[in-house]
């Protein structure tokens, strides 16, 4: 039932199967190795005073030690808190104050970690590892806390238990059709659930192989995918764009990859089409830290046939769409996406009020708007809080952004609703342009009017050098708005 049982079982049944390849150090671990090393690390943590119920924080790039620590925490009934190394010291301070780790490990030299009261992650190997009796771990024992909230404000720690990570693994294996022969590189940082739980823990559950390639470099990453004969790739859209432009990128080099999934942020249709044009079956994933994250699954055929769909719920997941009064909406109508299942977090760490706002009767209110077609396929429209009303019509920024990106001179876009004296709210588009000197706003508006209803076409345009983004690659719209408001106030 528990996460550590996966490793133990594989260590007995297929001890020599490679579980993990660290391309940075050249070291690989079989399942037997991982079973042993997770126990050794658990004994080391115990000798440093870690007990059941404690938190252990880690501030490191993707390294085998993070996975060992996760498993070691699992054995001890402790809880791993991977810290985001893209946060400011002040933001990290808030998280540490919230979760109060018994121990923190940092990767020396990784900027931003200097202020943490911490041990070197490299020196963990020098700590004595005297075997200790391991406590009883229940399905409800917290195993990891992922801090989220980069796009909405104060970080909240989503608590994932053994049960929720087990359920996510089973849902993913069943819904996405993972196999023990799958080999997946982990490019996204493991301080996000995307790095640890989209592929890594499901593959450990199944006995597959993970590859830690080090920092994302498009050319190097392409080489690693090719050399390790990876079969499953998960990246955020920005990485997909960079990978596609890596020298020598071609389908023939990556033909062994049978599943390509984009997640972390909405993927522009133009990017899908670019991959599809190469004969690469890229599909859109959807998930969230508080649930799994994996929630939907879709075949490549349906992804092509039903543009923009994230598919159908994975096995073990209930889904409903509700209006603002909590009533379920009919087919074709957007409502807030709610999910229920064992994969859902147990709550936000130390935040009962925030937990109560999103969890009721096991249903997690995702804050995302979605609609369902008559065949049961779901489509994400955007964040509920991002939706604005213009002249009485609901407007979903994600829909507009998709269209703006079809303009040849637009590299990136973020649309938000801003107050308007006549329409209540109108769209404002923040643009990053490929050739700023060639920008023609009237021509862009004309382009949009061909596809969008007039009330959806943004009324204001702001050209920027780049858009502020979270570590997961999501555009920080709140920051855009704040900066704009601050600028307006200053003027």
């Amino acid at each position: 039932m528990y996460v550590n049982r996966w490793i133990e079982t594989h260590a007995h049944i297929r001890p020599n199967k490679v579980a993990l390849i660290d391309r940075v150090s050249g070291v690989s671990f079989t399942y037997l190795d991982l079973h042993r090393s997770s126990h050794v690390q658990a004994y080391r943590l115990a000798s440093l005073g870690v007990q059941a119920g404690d938190r252990v924080a880690v501030y490191s790039q993707n390294r085998p030690e993070i996975l060992e620590l996760l498993l070691a925490c699992g054995l001890l009934g402790a809880c791993l808190v991977p810290l985001n190394w893209r946060l400011t010291p002040q933001e990290l301070e808030k998280i540490v104050a919230d979760c109060q780790p018994k121990l923190t490990f940092v990767e020396p030299g990784l900027p931003g970690g200097e202020g943490l009261q911490a041990h070197s992650i490299f020196e963990l190997q020098t700590v004595p590892a005297e075997p200790v009796a391991l406590p009883r771990v229940t399905p409800e024992t917290p195993l990891a806390i992922f801090y989220t909230g980069g796009t909405t404000g104060v970080p909240k720690g989503a608590v994932l238990t053994h049960k929720s990570m087990q359920a996510n693994a089973w849902n993913t294996i069943g819904g996405w059709g993972l196999s023990p022969e799958d080999i997946a590189p982990i490019f996204t940082p493991m301080f996000h659930t995307g790095g640890l739980n989209v592929v890594a823990t499901p593959l450990f559950c199944l006995g597959g192989t993970l590859v830690l390639p080090g920092n994302f470099d498009p050319a190097k990453s392409l080489e690693i995918i090719e050399q390790e004969k990876c079969t499953f790739v998960f990246l955020v859209p920005t990485m997909y764009e960079m990978l596609r432009q890596a020298p020598g990128f071609s389908r023939s080099r990556v033909a062994h990859v049978r599943k390509w999934i984009s997640g972390g942020a909405p993927c522009p249709k133009t990017l899908f089409e670019a991959y599809w044009g190469e004969g690469i079956p890229l599909i859109q994933g959807y998930g969230l830290t508080e649930a799994g994250p994996n929630t939907f699954g879709v075949s490549f055929e349906d992804a092509q046939k039903r543009s923009g769909t994230v598919g159908v719920p994975l096995p073990g997941i209930e889904v409903k769409l509700s209006d603002s009064e909590g009533k379920e909406v009919p087919v074709g109508t957007a409502g807030e996406l709610h999910v229920r299942g064992d994969h859902v977090m147990s709550g936000y760490w130390n935040k009962p009020n925030e937990t109560a706002q999103v969890l009721e009767d096991g249903w997690l209110a995702t804050g995302d708007l979605a609609y369902r077609d008559a065949d049961g396929f779901y489509y994400i429209c955007g964040r509920r809080k991002e939706m604005f009303i213009s002249g009485g019509e609901n407007v979903f920024p994600a829909e507009i952004e998709e269209v703006v990106l079809t303009h040849p001179n637009v590299a990136e876009v973020a649309v938000v609703g801003v107050p308007h004296p006549k329409w209540g709210e109108v769209g404002r588009a923040y643009l990053v342009l490929k050739q700023p000197a060639e920008h023609n706003e009237a021509e862009l508006v004309e382009h949009l009017q061909k596809t969008l209803a007039k009330y959806k076409v943004p009324k204001e345009y702001v050209v920027m050098d780049s858009l502020p983004k979270s570590a997961a690659g999501k555009v920080l719209k709140r920051m855009l708005m704040e900066n704009q408001e601050a600028g307006a106030a200053a003027r």
Binding site: S25, G26, V27, S28, F29, T30, L32, D33, R36, S37, P64, P108, G109, S120, F122, E123, Q125, T126, P128, A129
Partner: protein, 222 residues
């Protein structure tokens, strides 16, 4: 020559032998701040004599190197810090031998230089499967070998040092070998000092010591 870099239980290894088939095996441990690849020449010469030579990256070194190893080593008394690396490395020796034994390799010897020599002294009484031991440029005192003298009765031990070594005194090794020779007269123990060599040995002394090392393992393991 068969050569393969791989890892077992997270321990980076370099195996060199004539053909990769099971055969008598020598674990080889490098010095401080170096790694399993540093002594490739010595590994190859062991392989040419018919052994599987298995170079091992110690904790904190090579494939699992601490980026701040120098800082770590200098953070306290040298031997105290070095022991923090030696102990986990020593704890891995039985794991490695289990693995090799299961694959049909053996009998086993161990050879180490300086930091690796310290490890070799300790491993000799830590795992009874190590029948032949060569400790080079090392002082056995760190692992309190006199408290484990009985365990050395079955071990063939050859130690050699530089007489002009400013870092590692030759005397403790000489004294310990002499003690074993007097305690177990039927045992196989040898000691050699190269008076003009310091910690970085004169090439001719190294060649002589290494040639005797090869012969020592041949006599003990083949």
């Amino acid at each position: 020559m068969f050569e393969r870099s791989f890892s077992f239980a997270g321990i980076p290894l370099l195996a060199v032998s004539q053909d990769g088939r099971p055969r008598p095996t020598v674990l080889f441990y490098h010095g401080l701040h170096t790694d399993k690849d540093t002594h490739r020449r010595e590994l190859e010469s062991l392989a040419q004599r018919g052994f599987l030579a298995l170079g091992v990256d110690a904790a904190g070194h090579g494939g699992r190197r601490m980026p701040d190893l120098s800082g770590f080593v200098n953070r306290g008394p040298l031997l105290q810090q070095v022991a923090k690396l030696l102990r986990p490395t020593l704890a891995e020796v039985p794991l490695l031998l289990d693995f090799l034994e299961a694959e049909g390799y053996g009998p086993f010897g161990i050879c180490g230089i300086s930091f690796g020599g310290l490890l070799s002294y300790a491993a000799a009484h830590y795992d009874a499967r190590l029948g032949s031991v060569v400790a080079i440029l090392a002082d056995p005192s760190w692992c309190h070998p006199y408290e484990h003298v009985a365990a050395y009765e079955r071990v063939r031990l050859f130690a050699w040092n530089g007489g002009a070594d400013q870092h590692v005194s030759a005397e403790p090794a000489r004294h310990f070998v002499a003690h074993l020779q007097s305690t177990f007269p039927a045992g196989h123990y040898d000691y050699r000092v190269y008076p003009e060599s310091d910690h970085f040995m004169r090439p001719e002394d190294w060649e002589d010591g290494w040639s005797r090392t090869l012969s020592w393992f041949e006599a003990g393991l083949l």
